[in-house]
């Protein structure tokens, strides 16, 4: 009986050892979309909002942005679109944008990551930093792994009785 149990255990171990784990299978699954060439440029959109509590509400030019009604954005009752610009991101080449308060936003594309699944968009590793005039750094480094078409926000700089809210979206 002991021999029988040992034989069964050994067979199960061998069988499980011979079969690939789901994680490995997922890694080996074909399909990852080919990554973009290293020198390929992608387009990114930067929106600059001014958040205040002056009661003017949300600027219709901003468009549909339901997040503004939720914390932490809901700390301010008014949002005004100051600027909307498109920048081109090239891997290894930072792109700088001057903000209304004189700060400089520097965005660079670090890497393009193939999607894990066929039906998912590519992901982009993007880094951002904000340099204030006079040499002070507001944000030394922020590096995100963003899905194409998704936005992320950097907020908190004081500007004219309110704060600046920067939205950065990597275009698909």
């Amino acid at each position: 009986m002991r021999f029988l149990a040992s034989a069964i255990t050994a067979m199960m171990v061998l069988a499980l050892g011979a079969s690939p784990s789901p994680a490995v299978a997922q890694e080996k699954a074909p399909a990852p979309a080919p990554a973009a060439p290293a020198d390929a440029a992608i387009t990114s959109e930067v929106v600059v909002l001014h958040a205040t509590n002056d009661g003017t509400g949300i600027d219709p030019k901003i468009g549909k942005m339901p997040e503004l009604g939720k914390p932490p954005f809901s700390a301010y009752n008014s949002y005004k679109l100051l600027d909307r610009l498109k920048i081109s991101l090239r891997k290894g080449t930072p792109t700088t944008t001057k903000l209304p308060n004189g700060s400089v936003l520097m965005v660079s594309l670090k890497d393009v990551v193939a999607a894990k699944k066929q039906d998912e968009p590519k992901r982009f590793v993007v880094s951002a930093s904000i340099q204030k005039p006079g040499g002070n750094t507001f944000l030394p480094l922020l590096e995100v792994n963003a899905k194409a078409g998704e936005s992320f926000f950097v907020a908190g700089q004081q500007h004219m009785g309110g704060v600046l809210v920067l939205g950065i979206k990597v275009a698909p």
Partner: protein
């Protein structure tokens, strides 16, 4: 033999006493008739030869008894074997047709039956069990290989990347205009659209929020990095 008898008969004289060889032939009844009669007459008058013949007869009887005993032992063994086979012959013959002769005879008939039982179905059942379980294990391995190659996602794969709700910055001293509560996305199984890979707030206080875009907290989120601007370097 007839040649030897004739030669001995020729060597022997009718009046001469029989030799030892002739006495042995006499005891064995292998002398020719004339010499046999002569030896017989001689024995009537010679007690010494009679004693020799009596000794030869006794020796012959002993040898014969010994031989019979040996053959009788063989007969006993054959008898025992025959009896054993007869006792279990019904099943053996019924199942196999041919009679299987055991290698060694046993004093009782129980041992062979016990041995037959030990060699019977239990061993076959174990073999069948091992074979069945081995086939089951191989089938399970094959199923896992097929499942892995189809690219099916592991049931727990989505749980390995929950939307982080951790605040990388120091949790205290958040800016006054920021909400005190951090929207929690714990337990969310949807991969966030934007993951913070690295952040350096420098000397400032910062908080990372994952703001749900929809009413349901389990829906997609928007990543927000909010820094205080009243610390070192602030305006």
């Amino acid at each position: 033999m007839s040649t030897a008898n004739s030669s001995k008969a020729n060597h022997g004289d009718a009046s001469s006493p029989p030799t030892d060889l002739e006495l042995m032939l006499y005891v064995d009844g292998e002398l020719d008739e004339a010499r046999h009669r002569q030896v017989e007459d001689y024995l009537l008058h010679d007690p010494r030869c009679r004693a020799k013949v009596a000794g030869l007869v006794t020796a012959a009887d002993m040898i014969r008894d010994s031989a019979l005993a040996a053959s009788a032992a063989d007969g006993i063994a054959d008898g025992v074997m025959a009896k054993i086979l007869e006792e279990k012959g019904g099943t053996t013959k019924a199942s196999g047709g041919a009679v299987v002769q055991p290698l060694a005879a046993s004093p009782s008939g129980d041992a062979p039956r016990a041995r037959t039982r030990l060699q019977g179905s239990p061993a076959n059942d174990n073999a069948r069990g091992i074979f069945a379980l081995t086939a089951l294990a191989v089938a399970a391995a094959a199923a896992m290989m097929v499942w892995g190659r189809t690219g099916a996602e592991a049931p727990s794969a989505e749980l390995t990347a929950p939307a982080p709700s951790a605040v990388l910055a120091p949790p205290a001293a958040a800016p006054a205009h920021e909400p005190a509560a951090v929207p929690s996305a714990e337990g969310e199984i949807i991969e966030p659209g934007v993951e913070v890979a690295a952040v350096d707030f420098g000397a400032r206080m910062g908080t990372i929020f994952y703001v749900p875009r929809e009413a349901a907290a389990s829906g997609p989120t928007t990543t927000v990095v909010w820094l205080s601007d009243d610390g070192p370097g602030g305006q």
